[in-house]
Symmetry: C2
Subunit: 174 residues, 2 copies
Amino acid sequence: MRVSPTQPEQTQAGARPDSLRIGDVARLVGTTPRTIRYYEEIGLLPEAPTRPSGQHRIYTEAEVERIREVMRLKHLLGVSLEELKTLLTAEEARAEVRAQLRRDDVDPERRRELLTQALGHIDRQLELVRHRASELAKLEHELSETRKRARRKIRGLDAARDGTFPPSEEMSPL
Amino acid sequence: MRVSPTQPEQTQAGARPDSLRIGDVARLVGTTPRTIRYYEEIGLLPEAPTRPSGQHRIYTEAEVERIREVMRLKHLLGVSLEELKTLLTAEEARAEVRAQLRRDDVDPERRRELLTQALGHIDRQLELVRHRASELAKLEHELSETRKRARRKIRGLDAARDGTFPPSEEMSPL
DNA sequence: CTTTATCTTTACGTTCACGTAAGCTTCAGC
DNA sequence: GCTGAAGCTTACGTGAACGTAAAGATAAAG
């Protein structure tokens, strides 16, 4: 555990602090620095507005988590980065909500509005995910059915080989 | 504008015979002729060995179904066409099996071998599909959890606004 | 047999999602 | 304060998956 408050450490594999640089982040989420920069370039990831051009990017653990989530969604939904961007509007909105909610000085009217908006975005994601999931489930079912048929046929052959049953089985379309 | 009464009666949706041409097929499966030719070019779809160069491609209903399946797998699994090609080796093997099995003159030894091979391919597909499905299910669960929290918060706000319990203004669309 | 839509092959163009190289700067460790 | 690894910007390159255009051939309708 850390003892001193400001201890500059190397950003190695076991590093604690938020001195994560782009290379570390890339390793952590299983990608390359170029990809992260690219995502920032096309607006998929937010760019820190404070950083002067030329200075290194630094990332917090939360940002790493966000990037990981982006990768995951891309992989699971298989959408283009452009579609993903619109989908992630939900994420941004929710981040907005969280930021606003942390400050107590927003009126409940605005709160409700933000939350409802976020809810809508979540619903959009959910619908997409559920649709995908059901399609996949259907495919899985079909495949396992086909598998059963194949196994039955093999067992039939084996039984016939052992001389117990005549191989007079008519075949169903595989 | 040309509003000719001579309506070229092409191979329409109600057409019976297997005179399906590439344009019809493309419409049927929701893609373009170019894509179908491309898939044939890279070996994802088989090319009829009988067709002399320059002659039109013709497709049977079964081939259309196959193409549809290829599209579906591509869409659902989100793999590259190269990966998809190796995956579809299973399909080819199973087609091989079907062809061989239709002729009775193959010995059971060979039959069993083919079937077992096909089974292995099916298993590979199944594993991939199941993995995807479980990942998606996890994502769905997380999303719906987040949704629940958002809804709770909204209800809480509504309750606070009315001082009492909220009237069921609009319930969830689910 | 003529028309006309659709198809053929060939080949170059395009978009997406990054990879890679160059030249220079920043930063952590000594 | 130096030094080398890693990062920065800019820009060109690349593979996958098609789009598109050209020039001619084919096939179904009239």
